[in-house]
């Protein structure tokens, strides 16, 4: 695999069965794509898990109470007195705050993706499958949302219904459903022209039944590839809302608010903003890399049948 010497040695008598050597195959575009997909998967998984595992295990870890104030230990630098991330302006352990805050941010992110996925797939599939007025309404909604001052609307809705976790989840879902809907719609537009849909109709199945039982399951896998990318955006959006003061209220310490609180001390206590931010970046980079790798590997996974048919290719990747 690592051989870079081109297969140029002359073979005067015995002509090889093929001029394509395993090394050439390893340098082929497909092999390199697989290679970079694998690198992205690994780095992405490591980054994401490095944040997610401590967050999930936070209650089991020997951490200080995230809300326990200790005024004698205010703004300690990282690694001082057993505070790995230091402490904040009220002497609260920053690592503990970041991990417990991460539980809230992550929960909101996952829930928001599920809700926006459900809305997006339902409306997108309906628009693509039924066409006509359903499509017109959904498409107009999608267009209107593009010209809306989105963040302002989200702040308004949060002000209206209060900054509770369900409201913030819903608000993020509103911001995200167009992406899923647009993708699902375009997939269903192709899918509904396939012969099996006609066959099902000929067999007398109801239109809704065909859509739910046959069309949606067929596009679901492709549509769900964007889920990880949406999760990354959801985490970012939640942190922005929290930063602007429209996040879950106390006692929840979400990442955006920790950063917003620490902003005033940036000149003297760099860790209060830098470390929570790095946690967000690490998580979002990880999730984005995973999402990217899954999307890139999608078509390769589909072309698996010819790949297994050519043994040399398998030899090149093994």
């Amino acid at each position: 695999m690592s051989a870079t010497v081109p297969a140029a040695h002359p073979a005067p008598h015995v002509s090889p069965p093929s001029a394509v050597k395993p090394a050439d195959l390893a340098r082929s575009a497909a092999a390199r794509t697989r290679h970079s997909v694998r690198i992205k998967l690994w780095i992405g998984a490591i980054c994401a898990l490095a944040v997610i595992v401590p967050i999930v295990l936070a209650p089991l870890l020997p951490l200080a109470d995230p809300n326990a104030q200790e005024l004698s230990a205010r703004r300690l630098a990282p690694l001082v007195d057993g505070h790995l991330f230091g402490t904040d302006q009220l002497g609260r352990d920053l690592l503990s705050r970041v991990l417990f805050g991460g539980q809230v941010s992550l929960t909101i992110g996952v829930l928001a993706v599920l809700v926006s996925g459900a809305i997006g797939i339902t409306l997108g599939a309906a628009a693509g499958y039924y066409g006509r007025w359903v499509d017109t309404i959904v498409s107009r909604l999608l267009e209107a949302q593009m010209s809306l001052p989105l963040l302002m609307m989200l702040l308004l809705v949060v002000a209206l219904f209060g900054p509770s976790i369900p409201v913030i989840t819903f608000v993020i879902a509103i911001a995200q459903w167009p992406e899923v809907a647009r993708l699902t719609r375009s997939l269903v537009l192709v899918e509904r022209e396939k012969p099996y849909v006609d066959a099902a109709r000929t067999l007398g199945l109801h239109k809704i039944r065909i859509l739910i039982r046959h069309v949606i399951p067929n596009v679901f896998k492709q549509a769900s590839l964007v889920i990880l990318l949406l999760l990354a955006q959801a985490v970012l959006l939640e942190s922005a809302l929290s930063f602007l003061g429209a996040g879950p209220q106390r006692p929840f310490a979400t990442w955006g608010r920790i950063i917003s609180d620490g902003q005033n001390y940036i000149t003297t206590s760099w860790w209060m903003v830098t470390l929570p931010g790095l946690m967000i970046v690490l998580l979002v980079v990880g999730v984005n890399l995973l999402g990217d790798a899954l999307r890139d590997s999608g078509p390769i996974g589909k072309r698996r049948s010819p790949k297994t048919g050519t043994p040399e290719k398998n030899g090149a990747t093994a």
């Binding site: 970079s36 593009m146 001052p149 302002m152 002000a159 209206l160 922005a240 940036i266 970046v281």
Partner: protein, 311 residues
């Protein structure tokens, strides 16, 4: 073409009208009393009632809405409560700042992202490309407010090169522009790369290459020629979205643009100001969108407006 433009303008105006109507209802449903915010915590009930009457808030909502529509068609959008000035003028005063910031960011993003995307497409599936790819992923994974604070603390506090906030001199533009551009560069360069690598695989490029046309011409004139439209659209759409206020970055850098104005208006429940800001920014965003669509035929002679664009 002659029916296309009026139709698009009509649709756009309708969208603005519906948007601002939704906002009108939402802000009045939201808890919080503009009169209380204006008169202060020590105001008596009588003072509050007087303020409400002065602002016209004592009338039923439907009557307020009718007055608002009347104002909309006469081009006045009421008096801002907190500025005690016509809301429309307050917004127009802030608009140049947002426009400057949005233009600077999108220009910087285009200058960096297009060559970067082309570079990545030309080196598809190499180690360098993978590295650049990961950098763009990092760029789109940083929360903009955090990037802003980091740049601020680095270049305004630790190494004082640029001012920390505001728009006293042109230096103040640098950090917010970079903050916004990082995300835009990441998104746009990935898009350029995708478009270019799709185009570079097309038969017409193989033919052109076999005729001995220089690689540089192939990339920039042949492949970029067809990639120009989606790239241009992406840049334009991002610019239009920024006109609605680059809220977070404006707040971080205390930038006196429309975004920070809207946040402040929301906090003080300054109804006319919120409405005026929504009307002005969404009108602008829609105008930019229309200009992008009108520019298509210039970039790609295959496009004919009114037929293709109706879908």
């Amino acid at each position: 073409m002659l029916t296309y433009i009026p139709k698009r303008i009509g649709q756009g105006l309708l969208t603005v009208f519906l948007t601002v109507s939704v906002v009108f209802v939402l802000i009045r449903m939201a808890p919080g009393d503009p009169a209380a915010a204006y008169a202060g915590p020590l105001a008596t009930t009588e003072q509050l009632a007087a303020v409400r009457e002065q602002f016209g808030l004592d009338r039923p909502v439907w009557e307020q809405y009718l007055i608002f529509i009347q104002q909309l068609f006469t081009g006045q959008l009421g008096m801002s409560y907190s500025f005690q000035a016509p809301a429309f003028e307050v917004v127009l005063e802030r608009l140049p700042y947002t426009l400057t910031l949005a233009t600077a960011s999108i220009v910087l993003a285009a200058i960096v992202a297009i060559p970067l995307g082309v570079w990545m497409a030309n080196r598809a599936n190499t180690g360098k490309e993978l590295g650049a790819n990961m950098l763009t992923i990092a760029g789109q994974s940083m929360p903009d407010f955090w990037t802003g604070i980091m740049l601020l603390s680095l270049f305004a506090v630790v190494i004082p090169v640029f001012p920390a906030s505001g728009f006293a001199t042109w230096d103040g533009l640098v950090l917010p522009t970079i903050t916004i551009a990082i995300l835009q560069i990441a998104l746009v360069s990935r898009m350029v790369r995708r478009e270019m690598s799709n185009n570079l695989a097309l038969p017409y490029l193989t033919v052109a290459r076999s005729r001995g046309i220089a690689e540089r011409v192939l990339t920039w004139r042949y492949a970029m020629g067809t990639a120009a439209i989606p790239v241009f659209t992406a840049l334009g759409t991002r610019f239009a979205a920024m006109l609605n206020g680059v809220v977070v970055v404006e707040v971080v850098f205390a930038w006196p643009g429309v975004g920070s104005l809207i946040v402040r208006a929301l906090e003080t429940r300054d109804y006319p100001l919120i409405q005026a800001a929504v009307v002005v920014t969404s009108l602008l965003a829609i105008a930019v969108q229309l200009l992008i669509d009108l520019a298509y035929p210039l970039l790609d002679p295959r496009v004919r407006l009114g037929k293709a664009a109706s879908a």
